[in-house]
Subunit: 406 residues, 2 copies
């Protein structure tokens, strides 16, 4: 007892590409599931569009979102490819796709068709826009979701012009929510034997995400004020420049506020009526935040981090991407591990971060070439050696070239 991974033995058929779907199934990999990634014979566009790689087939983004998976290539436009897909699906507990509903139906891979053959299947589709509204079936991009969910509007309120969160926040958030729903559906299946049909619509989900945090005073009828958390959206609430960089610090409580004033040598302000209580500082946010700007620029980041730590005021450096991995905590816990990729040479892998029964699960093998596991997986699905060879010969399935395999 104790060594079985949380999702050990769960088989997931993964017909997703780009980011939101692969991030969903990456989470299932991290929890211990077996994920079989189905690519077209051309492969996930993220292999090449996700940035440079030594071979041109494994961008950094592709590597990170697809480690630990098995790789099969099938041409679903051919009847034999679809038939192989269906046989494979019969060996799986979960099917995940991020395909527009009408395309999924055209392939006969919609929930109704799949669950007619396999009622206990957990069928999950990630869509841009749910049923019942005018955007149903429109393509979704992270940018479009950020605009319509009001996320770019937050920057408009704070900075005077809308801008994107510089991360694929919609893709990444919806991926985690989808993985959670799949696990919850597995819970019900284990208790009742029943499968499930899941759809996670991105716009609705990201609008809910944004409004949970920011609807605030406008949650009441009549409204008690405008929406928007004024502390988060205050233009003065931002990282502070030091002599050689930037830090972020939080001095919210009265104790932290007093400790901060002592640290910057402003004992004269300890009794200032503008800064005495949380409410006082909130009312005088501009002056309060202004203090730190004036005070911190005189010394280096290292000086302030040490002084603030001694005063027990939470503070951290604002790292550039280049600096993150050198952070002493992240280095000590070994967030990044170097490993040998058979095609790409030495790469940096980001390992799972949760502690499960006291340890981090291992990250699994690195992402493989298109079709690397095609033959093995099709054999597991019950295709004979002759059927597999026929499919490969007809271009229905693809296997990695011998020389490119690990």
């Amino acid at each position: 007892m104790g060594d079985e991974k949380l999702l050990e033995g769960i088989r997931v058929l993964d017909l997703t590409s780009v980011v939101v779907g692969p991030a969903t199934t990456l989470r299932l990999v991290d929890l211990g599931a077996t994920v079989i990634k189905v690519e077209t014979p051309e492969g996930d566009v993220m292999r090449s569009l996700g940035g440079p790689s030594n071979t041109g087939h494994f961008s950094g983004k592709f590597l990170h979102f697809n480690r630990g998976k098995r790789f099969i290539a099938l041409d679903l436009k051919t009847p034999a490819g679809l038939e192989a897909m269906r046989k494979l699906l019969g060996t799986c507990d979960v099917f995940v796709s991020n395909i527009r509903p009408e395309s999924l139906a055209r392939l006969g891979l919609d929930a109704e068709s799949c669950r007619a053959r396999q009622p206990a299947l957990i069928h999950c589709n990630i869509t841009g826009f749910g049923p019942g509204g005018p955007y149903r079936g429109l393509p979704a991009y992270d940018t479009v979701i950020q605009g319509a969910s009001g996320i770019t509007g937050l920057t408009l309120k704070r900075d005077g012009a809308p801008n994107f969160v510089p991360l694929l926040i919609g893709d990444h958030t919806v991926a985690e929510i989808t993985a959670g729903h799949i696990c919850a559906a597995l819970v019900r299946r284990l208790r009742t034997g029943q499968g499930a049909t899941l759809e996670i619509p991105m716009l609705e989900t990201m609008a809910a995400y944004n409004l949970e945090e920011h609807l605030g005073p406008a949650s009441f009828c009549p409204p008690l004020g405008k929406p928007g958390d004024t502390r988060v959206l205050d233009p003065h609430h931002r990282p502070v420049a030091t002599r050689d960089g930037w830090i972020t610090l939080t001095a919210n409580t009265d104790r932290q506020a007093a400790a901060f004033l002592r640290t910057i040598g402003r004992h004269d302000l300890l009794e200032d009526p503008r800064f005495r209580t949380v409410a006082d500082r909130f009312r005088n946010a501009k002056d309060w935040y202004g203090l730190r700007v004036d005070a911190l620029r005189g010394q280096d980041t290292a000086y302030w981090l040490k002084a603030l730590a001694e005063a027990d005021v939470p503070a951290m450096p604002c790292y550039t991407l280049e600096q993150v991995e050198a952070d002493p905590h992240l280095k000590a816990v070994g967030l990044l591990v170097q490993e040998e990729h058979p095609q790409e040479g030495t790469i940096k892998t980001i390992r799972p971060t949760a502690l499960i029964d006291g340890k981090n699960y291992d990250p699994g093998p690195p992402a493989k070439p298109i079709g690397a596991d095609t033959e093995t997986v099709l054999a597991e699905a019950g295709l004979s050696a002759a059927e597999i060879q026929a499919a490969l010969g007809a271009g229905t399935a693809r296997t990695a070239k011998a020389g490119a395999q690990s």
Copy 2:
């Protein structure tokens, strides 16, 4: 068959407050679990600090992150309060907290102590910083996590100064990941009978989130370039001003790019070598993005949305927070529902967005006063009426005042 919710019958004891923990257990509520929120007799600080409310006890943020839960108030500083907590824990499948490890141990509610009494328990703690690194035990704020995970550094790269994502991205993301891990642990428990000890460290998790997207060319040894997805971080990749607002549009493929040029009447650029392929447009991103800025300011948002939809170029308005709920799709699907809150009057509730077996689960009852369910829940946990009254009398437990109850 078909009517049981995914997590129906799962009981969760929720010793969390503020955002990351309550967002975790909100997701479990949405999936059908019974969540019992334990507050101190003073209540979750988010009740008042999360913004205004009619009574001062139900900020919008508190309402949204705590709907559908049951509410019990216990003073864990008293032996009788702790004893009631332990009895209650014995009736639950899952325990979630966002308390620093040493404080949890002081209460005897650390995983080792709890699982010694109850081996099948799923014990989950959300921490700022995992074991094995120098930040272990430090307090975590979303700002500090954004700084040290390199998220503020993305804005530094794009805009020349670091800034926060204007959402509690660390809290919200870690919440979804935590909920997923809890569900996965329930899967293993149903298959093996085994409980689990889970810890989700925020810094590690958000650094992984950021690096998965942005480590890119620096994922290789030697590096193939600097980290940072240059498309996402291009300063010209941003929403575009129209005559009366802002829109976001994505014209990535050659077909979309040509359709966009026709829509803005620039047929003369269809064969321009700067814009012919994805690679051309990427190399000439400044010119390419500049085109839209010049073109779109001449007409209203409504004009462009219609024209771009006809050209099959993905585009959406950039809503302000005030505008989101009036979006025709979100209105049609009924994302926000009005309901009567016993203390606050009419409120807007954000309902679950996933479609499970074809429908949205209902949002559950609105958040209740501190201790509203104390007596019922303690009776369920096996305390006698006399024990409950004694606890209430001694201030160990608290019940909502009769007049304030629903």
